[in-house]
């Protein structure tokens, strides 16, 4: 007993250190996981208030730029409407079904906390379960893909950024449809790599990369970026670097995309595995 007490007195600093360090590692292992959002539940506290205020200021300073981005997106959408409606003029259609053909539902929101300088980047949005946001919804900006929701509180949600070592995305060439797996290597916040494209495929610089929609998260054909460099390696595959169309340093207004037919697709897929 005496020896034990002596031991405790002698090494009490080491013991305190080990106890606190194990608490830290417990937090590290449970809080940072891809789909674990225990900490997100407490998002409503003081830190969100501060972050929202900072974000309000920075957004105000960039209003001019945001305006022009929104204007260009508007004109693009108007062009699309123009194309669609021209074919239907003079035809009368009655649609009883309220979800006629609609597969994706868009909710607009704003990024209130973001980072690009870590190896595992996440960002926070000012929309949550009260606005119908759920885990596994896609986040896209007007330029292209941005991330996937990993946790929601009532009024906020947390999303994993494309700029995260754990993020994977199925992407393909718009021109020929060959698809591969997209990931970030942690170096440059403007560039990601596309793997598993075999070397017999015709690839050239500047080719557009878009999402495949295989995962039922991102809508098919969402812009990802363009090929900025490609290398033939010793293996059978190209090493393709893609310049992201989304500038994550300027990410502010985004759309959160829910897939209305997701359950149908995943249930079917899981039953025939």
């Amino acid at each position: 007993m005496r020896n034990l007490l002596n031991f405790l007195v002698r090494y009490n600093n080491l013991i305190v250190f080990l106890i606190l360090e194990s608490i830290a590692f417990y937090l590290l292992s449970t809080g940072n996981n891809y789909h674990n959002s225990r900490l997100v539940k407490g998002l409503n506290g003081i830190t969100r208030g501060v972050e929202e205020r900072v974000s309000n200021t920075t957004v105000y300073l960039r209003l001019r730029e945001i305006n022009s981005e929104l204007a260009s997106e508007n004109s693009r959408l108007k062009n699309m409407i123009g194309k669609l409606s021209s074919g239907r003029e003079g035809r009368v259609t009655t649609v009883r079904d309220t979800t006629f053909g609609q597969q994706y539902q868009f909710t607009s929101g704003r990024v209130i906390n973001n980072s690009v300088n870590k190896q595992k980047n996440y960002f926070t949005l000012n929309r949550g379960t009260n606005q119908g946001i759920q885990v596994d919804m896609a986040v896209i900006s007007s330029q292209g893909v941005a991330g996937v929701i990993v946790g929601c509180s009532q009024n906020f949600s947390r999303a994993i950024s494309v700029l995260n070592l754990d993020f994977r995305l199925s992407a393909r060439f718009r021109s020929n449809g060959y698809f591969g797996s997209l990931s970030w290597d942690g170096r440059n916040y403007r560039e990601v790599t596309l793997n598993e494209i075999p070397q017999h495929v015709n690839v050239s610089l500047g080719d557009t990369i878009e999402t495949t929609g295989y995962s039922a998260i991102f809508p098919e054909g969402t812009m990802v970026g363009t090929v900025s460099s490609l290398k033939k390696t010793g293996s059978d595959f190209y090493k393709i670097t893609i310049r992201l169309s989304t500038d994550f340093k300027k990410l502010s207004y985004i759309d959160i995309v829910g897939n209305l037919k997701k359950t149908e697709q995943t249930v079917l897929e899981n039953s025939y595995q």
Binding site: V16, A24, L27, N117, N188
Partner: protein, 168 residues
């Protein structure tokens, strides 16, 4: 006693706010992320019992973690820095030892001593932090480069802040 506790709390709050509002937003190519809040651990007086130092380190790291959305990362790195501080202090103790009443500032112990002290603690903290962040040994040297570059900037900022604190 009460007075100095108040003083340190004020310094801690200012440093954490600086870190969260200013330095966390310096996103320079992913290689340079100064973490100036470690200065809280640096400035605590030499007579503080090690367990109290560890508690301060724990709560400092936890606060920064809450603001940067990285649970556990800064906490564990700051704890390592706090744990190693008594050993570092013993290793580089000045000829006459430490004066028990004074704080560990540039004003009391001189620029050279303070710079060596800062550099060692910051290096310990940053190396731990960056390797915990990546949590793998692939890209070993790139992580090392990130840690060293960030350390250089952190040390620079801390010396600058300390210099202005001394002049006041």
């Amino acid at each position: 006693m009460i007075n100095s506790i108040l003083r340190y709390s004020l310094i801690a709050i200012v440093l954490i706010l600086l870190q969260v509002l200013l330095f966390n937003n310096i996103q320079f190519s992913g290689y340079i992320n100064p973490y100036v809040y470690i200065m809280i651990i640096l400035l605590l007086p030499s007579v503080i019992p090690p367990w109290a130092l560890l508690l301060v380190a724990f709560f400092t790291g936890l606060t920064v973690d809450l603001f940067s959305g990285t649970p556990g990362m800064h906490t564990s790195a700051t704890l390592v820095a706090g744990f190693s501080r008594p050993y570092i202090l013993r290793f580089i103790s000045p000829r006459d030892g430490y004066e028990s009443g004074s704080e560990l500032s540039m004003e009391v112990y001189g620029f050279r001593w303070f710079m060596i002290y800062t550099s060692i603690v910051v290096l310990v903290h940053h190396l731990t932090l960056f390797y915990i962040e990546v949590f793998r040994f692939a890209d070993f040297f790139r992580t090392l480069l990130r840690a060293l570059l960030s350390s250089a900037f952190t040390i620079g900022f801390i010396l600058l802040i300390e210099y202005y604190r001394k002049r006041r």
